[in-house]
């Protein structure tokens, strides 16, 4: 999910300029299956399928309520025995001011707020019943008959004791009998969900309905830690097991619906539509409904790409599609095949922006492009961020969380951070060297610039590797720490260790993480194993200078040390010669010549009597080797790698005059967000200027001339 806008840090791939008159392509048929054929998607581990859902929901579009029932079949794949089942009731986070979500968010999320009358959201469970228990079945869960009305729970089932927990965003169901290893339990739940006005990825706005986290979701039973069902707070997202879903939605006729999975049945009667969806090996199910949606279909690599877009933005659909296709190619090449047969991209209407930029399995919401006239984009200013950046970011979540189902609430960096990092790689794949994201005339800001701009000082107030709930909204540093700093940390490591080795390591991790709940430790261990404990950064033939990968990751993820370097001094001085008194072979003082050229100006001395000096400093606490580029008079260039173990170093160059010294000349250290002090001319070349004050002074003068010229005489 995107927690903050532009700076946030999203990026874009599409290169086309604004489109001409929109042309809606023909609607494509629903894919035959929710998963792609096995040769295309790869194997799906059967033991990953733990929680199956059969859901029936009826939308009251006037009251914005969903009357629903759920039949949840859960398999115990651990060695534990359980007597309770925890369920998430996320929607209850918006129920009252005293919920953990409301307290931690102050009732606000992005531009949306839960503060208007009638905007509370909740999920009211009316009954929980025991349906059956049994031995583990390896075959598919048989969903006998999508029920005719809300209520899938058989009359013969047994009512269970259940209660909301201290915070109503979870509830605990007490089972009549223990469920042991390998056994399954099936419970039925009836509930009424009241959608809030759009806030925090869900809700309604006029006729638009975003049904995210709308049903009771069972927790995750972990082998070591037991049940995991976290209290829902401001920065938390979601954590659940994979399973198959069969969902029947009953909505007003004429409503256009987008949902996770594929539509397998459709029936219209009595002014209502009953739409049945199947989603396989996913860990959530969301749906969106709006009578104004215009459907825009595309296809790539056998995957149906369906956009539900607002009529006034249909002209942007091709750009979103192009971005999606490019991202799909990049992610499949880097992280393995996309396993599902469909992708649905939802464009919320104006006024429902709080529902934009959110990911659900096989479906995500995006933002709209900035409406900049074509001629402006072609000549003066263009950008590749708005809208399509969100599309790429949210698609990335189909991998980093959708397929690699990380514990988002405990390790948000592994979700949002790694997704942001993968977005940069996808953009690099698409755009190559010229990966600019904004352009003013021919002046460009590149992806790496955006990554650095997302950092700022606040990114270093707290460490990356901490639970989402540990961040406090008042600091406003969640986005810069989790999204930007993680991306910058991984990019820096990739730059230092080599893109090829790093990408192979990430591919190895991805292979192991598919349909699993990978942890940060897994990623770190894979990186260390594939890159090696130490990577030599020195030029061949030079003394080795090692990057300790484990220590690097530890500093990047679990300390708030900053990467910061500065040039302290660049100078040329008289080289000390051999003049003076010294002992001869007999032990007597001999010589005593006066020092040569003591009063001569440096520029008048021959090169042999001069030495260049460069002093550099590690201004931040983060220890990482850095390159120092030295330009000498005459144009020679030398690169030194400094291990930066000590806080400062002085390099001398006898017989050579130094013109300019630059730290990290290729910008490999993306974690270093302050770079203005990375370059300095020798003191005798200060007349060269600082490179900024003159052009900016000219700009200010020009601006003033233009304003004066417009105003008078």
């Amino acid at each position: 999910m995107i927690a903050f806008r532009p700076a946030g840090v999203a990026l874009a791939l599409a290169t086309a300029l604004a489109c001409a008159a929109p042309e809606v392509p023909p609607e494509l048929p629903e894919p035959a299956s929710a998963l792609r054929p096995e040769p295309m998607r790869g194997a799906v581990p059967e033991d990953a399928r733990i929680a199956d859902y059969e859901l029936v929901a009826r939308l009251d579009a006037e009251e914005h309520t969903i009357e629903g029932s759920a039949r949840v079949t859960w398999r115990n794949t651990t060695s534990r025995t359980v007597t309770t089942l925890p369920f998430h009731l996320y929607m209850n986070g918006f129920r009252a001011e005293d919920t953990a979500w409301m307290r931690s968010s102050q009732g606000r999320h992005r531009e949306s707020a839960v503060e208007e009358e009638g905007t509370w959201g909740f999920i009211d469970v009316s009954s929980v019943k025991w349906i059956e228990a049994g031995a583990e079945s390896s075959g598919p869960v048989v969903i006998e008959d999508p029920v005719e009305r809300p209520g899938t729970v058989a009359e013969s089932s047994v009512a269970l004791e259940w209660r909301e927990d201290e915070d109503p965003s979870t509830m605990t169901v007490t089972l009549p009998a223990a469920i042991g290893p390998g056994e399954t339990a099936t419970v039925g739940i009836e509930f009424l969900t009241q959608l809030p006005k759009v806030v925090a990825r869900t809700g309604y706005f006029e006729d638009f309905h975003a049904a995210g986290q709308w049903y009771p979701k069972i927790g995750v039973l972990e082998e070591e830690a037991g049940w995991q069902a976290h209290t829902f707070t401001y920065y938390d997202e979601f954590y659940a097991d994979f399973g198959n879903y069969r969902v029947t939605l009953d909505v007003p006729e004429g409503t256009v619906v987008g949902a996770s999975g594929v539509r397998i049945a459709e029936e219209v009667a009595g002014g209502r539509q009953r739409l049945t969806y199947a989603a396989e090996m996913v860990h959530d199910f969301a749906w969106f409904a709006d009578p104004d949606f215009v459907e825009h279909d595309g296809e790539h690599d056998g995957i149906r790409i369906r956009q539900l877009i607002q009529p006034e933005h249909t002209g942007d659909a091709d750009e979103h599609l192009a971005a999606q296709v490019a991202a799909l190619d990049s992610y499949q090449a880097r992280f393995g095949p996309y396993p599902w047969s469909t992708i649905t991209i939802v464009h919320p209407p104006e006024g429902a922006e709080g529902a934009g930029g959110m990911e659900y399995p096989t479906l995500f919401t995006t933002d709209d492009r900035l409406q900049i006239p074509d001629w402006v984009r072609a000549t003066l200013f263009d950008e590749r961020v708005s809208g399509i950046g969100t599309t790429i970011h949210e698609f990335g979540h189909q991998y980093f969380q959708g397929l690699f189902a990380v514990r988002e609430h405990l390790e948000p960096w592994l979700d949002e951070g790694m997704d942001s990092f993968s977005n940069y790689m996808a953009a690099e794949d698409q755009l190559g060297e010229d990966a600019w994201v904004t352009r003013l005339f021919d002046r460009k800001l590149y992806l790496h610039d955006f990554m650095r701009l997302g950092l700022r000082r606040r990114a270093f107030w707290e460490v990356i590797d901490r639970p989402a709930a540990a961040f406090d909204g008042v600091l406003g540093n969640y986005g810069s720490t989790i999204y930007s700093k993680t991306a910058a940390a991984m990019s820096t490591l990739r730059n230092l260790a080599g893109a090829g080795d790093f990408d192979r390591a990430l591919a190895t991790f991805s292979e192991q993480a598919r349909f699993r709940h990978p942890r940060g430790d897994d990623l770190e261990a894979t990186l260390i194993e594939e890159l090696g404990e130490r990577v030599n950064l020195a030029e061949p033939g030079s003394d080795p200078i090692y990057l300790d990968v484990r220590e690097y990751l530890d500093q990047a993820l679990r300390t708030n040390r900053q990467v910061s370097f500065a040039v302290l001094a660049v100078d040329n001085r008289r080289r000390m010669g051999a003049a003076g008194w010294r002992r001869d072979t007999g032990g007597r003082l001999a010589g005593g010549e006066p020092p040569a050229n003591l009063d001569a100006m440096i520029e008048d001395l021959p090169d042999a009597e001069v030495e260049g000096v460069v002093a550099v400093r590690r201004a931040g606490g983060f220890v990482v080797p850095v390159e120092v580029r030295i330009e000498f008079a005459g144009g020679d260039v030398e690169i030194r790698v400094w291990d930066a173990c000590e806080p400062a170093a002085v390099f001398t160059f006898p017989g050579r005059r130094v013109d300019l010294a630059t730290l990290d000349p290729d910008g490999k250290l993306l974690l270093e967000w302050q770079r203005l002090d990375n370059s300095a001319f020798a003191s005798d070349l200060l007349w060269e200027g600082d490179g900024i004050s003159r052009p900016l002074g000219d700009l200010a003068e020009g601006l003033s001339l233009a304003i004066l010229g417009s105003l008078g005489p």
Binding site: L445, Q674, A680, L708, L711
Partner: protein
């Protein structure tokens, strides 16, 4: 009328050409004001950068964003300098309007011009104030009409064009109203004097067209100045091109006022 039209512009240009002192004063004032802004900006940024340098000019935008991010205070005096110079210029052209119009009408000694400036100031201020009301209304109406016809989302270039044309029309009306007050003895404080400028402009298409074209030329110069300095950030002589364009803009502006002088008084 056909014979009048070419004479109108030629006459206006002649009036400007015969007032080299006025042109010089205006040019020097313009360049001094803008130069002060530029040099103050260079000094402030130079002091912040000391002793560092941007080695790679292609990184300029990022460096600028970093500089402003780490030293946000830098932007404040620069903004104030630009706004201040604009305010000074606006005040200056309003206060001196009577003197400029007098000088464009006929050569006069400096004390005479000074006296005319002081004498004409209340009328210029009053006519400017009354003029602003229809100007704002006309601009708002034009903006709303364009948005309604084209749709708010497609406002863009057409909207800018319509606004510029309406603005130029208003400027012509103001020039004519000021001339009526300063040169032709119209009632100084009566709002009708200011509003009659619009009628005057509308009834004299040759005057209006030339005035509007000259206004548009001024703004084209302003736009070209911005393009030159932004496109010229690599270095090079862009700032000199900008200064030359500013001088051209000043000549166009004075010629526009001379067109109003040339037009003569409002007649029923």
């Amino acid at each position: 009328m056909t014979g009048f039209a070419p004479r109108l512009l030629a006459g206006a240009l002649t009036r400007v050409a015969r007032a080299p002192g006025l042109v010089a004063v205006v040019v020097v004032l313009h360049l001094l004001l803008a130069g002060t802004v530029g040099s103050a900006t260079r000094a402030a940024i130079g002091a912040s950068m000391e002793p560092y340098a941007l080695a790679d000019n292609s990184q300029l935008w990022f460096a600028v964003l970093e500089l402003l991010g780490t030293s946000p205070g830098l932007l404040v005096p620069i903004q104030h300098l630009i706004a201040g110079s604009a305010a000074i210029a606006l005040a200056f052209w309003t206060l001196l309007a009577a003197g400029i119009l007098q000088r464009l009408r006929a050569p006069a000694a400096l004390p005479t011009l000074a006296a005319a400036t002081v004498r004409g100031l209340p009328g210029v201020l009053a006519v400017t104030f009354w003029h602003l009301i229809p100007r704002v209304l006309l601009l708002a109406a034009a903006g709303a009409l364009t948005a309604a016809l084209l749709g708010a989302g497609a406002w863009g270039l057409a909207g800018i064009g319509v606004t510029a044309v309406v603005f130029a029309f208003c400027t012509c009306a103001l020039d004519l109203a000021r001339c009526d007050v300063v040169l032709h003895g119209a009632r100084r404080f009566h709002p009708v004097t200011a509003w009659r400028g619009f009628l005057h402009a509308a009834r004299r298409p040759p005057v209006l067209i030339r005035s509007m074209l000259l206004s548009l030329g001024q703004w084209a110069c302003a736009g070209a100045i911005l393009l030159a300095v932004v496109a010229g950030l690599h270095g090079g002589p862009a700032i000199w091109l900008a200064r030359a364009l500013a001088i051209l803009g000043i000549v166009l502006g004075l010629t526009r006022q001379a067109v109003a002088v040339e037009a003569g008084p409002y007649r029923r």
